[in-house]
Amino acid sequence: MAAFVVLAPLGAQAPSFVNDVQPVLTKAGCNQGACHGAQAGKAGFLLSLRGFDHKADWQALTREALGRRVNRLEPARSLMLLKPTLALPHKGGRRFGVDSEEYRILADWIAYGAPGPLDGEKRVERIEVAPEEVTLTADATQQVKVTAVYTDGSKRDVTRWAKFTSTNSGTATVDDMGLVKMQGPGEAAITVWYASKVVFARLAAPYDNAISSDVFSSAPRNNYIDDLVLEKLKALRIAPSGDATDGEFLRRAYLDTIGMLPTPDEVEAFLADTAADKRAKVIEALLDRKEFVDYWTYQWSDLLLVSSRKLPDQAMWSFHRWIRERVEKNTAWDVFVREILTATGDSRLNGSLNYYQLHKNTIELAENVTQAFMGLRLTCARCHNHPLEKWTQDDYYQFANLVARVGQKDGEERGDVVIYDNPYGDIEHPRLGRPLPPKPLDGVALAMDDAGRREALAQWVTAPENPYFARAIVNKVWANFMGRGLVDPVDDMRTANPASNEKLMQALVDDLIAQGFDLKQLMRRILNSAAYQRSSKPNETNSDDEIYYSRYIVRRMPAEVALDAITQVARVRTHFEGLPEGTRAIELPDTQVRSYFLDVFGRPPRINVDSAEREHAPTIKQALHVINGSTLNRMLSEDGNVIDMYLRLGLSNAKILDHLYLSALARYPDAREKGALLPALEQAQRQAARDPLERDPRQKPLEDLLWAMLTGKEFLFNH
């Protein structure tokens, strides 16, 4: 059979498989997860998910099944053109027409002999989007333009081939061609995906509120947080709520900083204090409290999954102690993490080594490092390039190799381990069948025989340049105080999940880095901001706002804090199996300790690093348990509880009411409350006068009152 010899017109060039053909196949959806990109392909034809494996895809198209899909001599007769145009039946339907750009590129590529990926061929280095950020009206449309920048410096408009999704389709929708349509006020980011690269276009449409600019210029500004919060609120035309009362501030600052309520004495002293800087002073005092250490040790124990579920008791305790020591010393966060990532030796001497006992397998360990310290879930890339992120399967296995040589053997005592670095051992890339050199994500690869793999890992993870590390911890701390992370969910730092106020996030990150990762400094900044000290009561413009911090976000107390608060107000002690009397819930080293209350209120099991493990939502079960469950009922009538104390001290009814309100709600009862409660107590007392042998008849009404206080929303919620 004679070969066709047709010379290409001068200047014409074969489309590149990598840079032209793959984008067409991806945009047309051929290689999506539901079609030929499925793990097993479709109808005998398998492509890599969104075209990450160029060589395999090229071979599948041109050579597999004896050259079934491409006909280089009669390009238009190629199956890969006949099916998607429905010239032949195609279960996937019509993907493009004969006169489309898709068709032209694919047919041209085949006519040029269907060349494969070339060595040294230019690749997409990054993509750019225009506009990057724009403010529109609530019903505007906006075309987004995507430009690919290649390794040789050249640029190309690839809008036609990019994939678009909206992070908030209530505010903006986007079509296949990148045309955005605003659906209402608010902000949305359009995620743009092209050739495994991801960028965003941010769109905002202000609310239809008429707000005088005085509102923003006269709003209190205590530090840069306020400047940036107000800037965002002004742009969106949302007015901030006013200042919280001193009582409200004090209660929330205690709960958020040390996980407990202020005592009545502390509340009274604070309310009586007339110093202008009394809030700042109380913040300093809180940061120095012993209970600060308890509360934050608990937070980091959640993060590090400290639990006797997988660790022997001794090991669990030593891990907890290790964390506690660091919180006590206010160890800089980068040092804290670096110590864990580079630790070697005997876990009896270094509790942090139990981290490796929890994550024995290399894959698990690598995934935990990214998830716990950077808020990145890499799991998708274990089997294929991450479909929505830039992480490739190569990245994944190169990263995993940074921890592939962690050796582990039994120590001298039971439950004790020795961690060391092996001189060999790698994870094989499953597709290539060989290990790739260890490499931090976005970093520089190490030599295969580099002995300092974990050093390099720790250095990269904790480096100020790492865009995820500081961001992840800033977000966690911010969410603790502000009720919602700037990024939400709080531990989902992927680029496709932008912060609600990116400028503020960046400023906080820069601040934390400048302060040497001093977390107390970060907390001080947040606590002192006017944004933190705002009232939780909405005004007419901000009742919808849950993400821009125009008011303090109301939330239920976390399980441990709630239990401790109830215990504190009732002046009783909780009993936890195997732990000393009076141990507070927040002091528990382990989430395996039995407590129905804590379980019902959503204590996390500490199995996976996942903020969703902690249940925040109020549930019926919680309501039933506080209303009618054993935890509270037992406390109400316990000898020596707060009621017992009132009666023994013979306090006046007014004093009792004041004390109870101050201790549970950090405020005095108001006139209406007094008007209803005082007569009731007096009436009970009058009965007592008639029958002096009876127990104080206020016992019962006071129990009812205490019950009502502790089951009330104002008590169980932080506001």
Partner: protein, 427 residues
């Protein structure tokens, strides 16, 4: 005056009543959402929606349309789910599309002719020099002639002189399998168009005379073999079927149906009644030709099977495929016994061939190598490395001294087996 007014009103009503057009409004909706299953080829439910006539004619359940009554039309009833199964099967039609169809039917469902759903296939020429891949190769029993399967043709090359003897053309598409009859007089060349149908041409190759064209199978044929007595032909197709044909008449004798995915290879053994096939369903089947049912299914392979071959004495069966592994079974016992396997390649195995003396087994792989193995131990004897492209065609000369390797890039090389040297390049 009044009359004029009425006329005007009527005209306006008529214009309005014309509603959406079939060609420009309705058909594109049907094309994009329905034709995957209701083309003239697939014809699910007997309904063809490629043109107006197809809709009017309807399917097994009757006409799709009642002109002027959208609500009473089966098409609409199934699109809304009022009649099950709701269409389209894999989703829901956007409401504006449904509205267009309803408006069109209510307005009388007038139809114009539309060009058949299948778009006209443009006539395109390659823009660079391109050779047809060589997808199959076979030696004539006397070893003098080499038949190679290409696009639209089988080319016969004098193996000694290296010159083309005949080009037997007119094949529908790629010739993906070739086989000489045991007496050497006939050549069966099989192929066909993917998704459209299989084709086998039986040639009196010496005369260049076409004896039979068999159109069968619903998809291209990937394997063909003559029975030892030369009277029957077995074919394996992408349509999941193996078929047996009478060579003299071209009539179909039997359809062997048990594979659940494409069948890539079929081979008659030397002993009476031996026939094996292998395919994408990872299985190898030995067929009982009395009942036309499998007598054994070998499921050892971990991925699709592309090659199956009996040893020349019929005591062994070898197979290989996408799992990069050669496997050998002993057939002397009551049931086939797996005796050896060897993951000897770094990519899928495309073809295998036993040497005529049965002592070596050769495999061609997508990893760029052809490897010669000891057939008993599967130890590597020779590597014919640096293959310039995928070696898709493989054949031993009848004396076993020469190995022909044909490739995707259209090249064809003869190797001397003993030393593993390329002795001649024929293409």
């Amino acid at each position: 005056m009044l009359r004029l007014f009425y006329c005007g009103l009527l005209a306006a009503l008529c214009l309005n009543a014309a509603g959406p057009s079939f060609r420009s409004d309705v058909f594109p909706i049907l094309r994009d959402n329905c034709l995957a299953c209701h083309s003239a080829q697939t014809k699910m439910g007997g309904l063809v929606m490629e043109d107006y006539a197809g809709l009017v004619h309807g399917g097994k359940r009757g006409p799709a349309l009642v002109k002027g009554d959208a609500a009473g039309s089966l098409l609409v009833q199934m699109l809304t789910g009022e009649v099950q199964p709701a269409m389209p099967l894999n989703g829901k039609l956007p409401p504006q599309n449904l509205a267009t169809i309803k408006a069109w039917i209510d307005a009388g469902a007038e139809g114009e002719e539309v060009s058949s759903a299948a778009p006209a296939i443009p006539n395109m020429k390659p823009k660079v020099e391109a050779e047809s891949p060589i997808a199959a190769v076979a030696f004539s029993p006397d070893g003098r002639m080499l038949a190679i399967g290409e696009l639209h043709a089988v080319t016969l090359i004098d193996a000694e002189a290296g010159v083309t003897y005949h080009v037997l053309d007119g094949h529908a598409e790629m010739v993906r399998a070739v086989a000489f009859s045991p007496d050497g007089t006939l050549l069966a060349a099989a192929g066909g168009r993917p998704l459209e149908g299989g084709e086998v041409k039986i040639w009196d190759w010496a005369e260049g005379k076409l004896l039979q064209t068999i159109d069968g199978h619903g998809d291209a044929i990937y394997g063909v073999d003559f029975s030892p007595d030369g009277k029957r032909l077995a074919t394996a197709s992408y349509d999941k079927l193996v078929k047996l044909w009478d060579v003299a008449s071209g009539a179909e004798i039997a359809t062997l149906k048990d594979h659940v995915d494409a069948v890539f290879a079929v081979d008659f053994g030397p002993k009476p009644g031996q026939l094996a096939s292998g395919g994408a369903d990872r299985s190898i089947k030995l067929w009982d030709l009395q009942t036309n049912r499998p007598s054994a299914t070998l499921s050892d392979a971990e991925a699709g099977v592309t090659a199956v071959e009996f040893s020349p004495d019929g005591k062994r069966l070898a197979a290989a495929g996408k799992d990069k592994t050669l496997r050998v079974w002993d057939l002397t016992g009551e049931t086939p016994l797996s005796i050896k396997n060897m993951t000897g390649h770094e990519a899928e195995v495309l073809r295998i061939a036993y040497s005529p003396d049965g002592r070596t087994l050769t495999s061609a792989s997508a990893d760029g190598t052809v490897k010669v193995w000891d057939a008993e131990t599967l130890t590597e004897k020779k590597v014919l490395g640096d293959q310039p492209d995928w070696a898709m065609a493989l054949a031993y000369s009848p004396r076993g001294d020469v190995l022909a390797v044909g490739r995707y890039d259209g090249s064809l090389t003869l190797y001397e087996v003993k030393r593993g040297f390329a002795v001649r390049r024929l293409r």
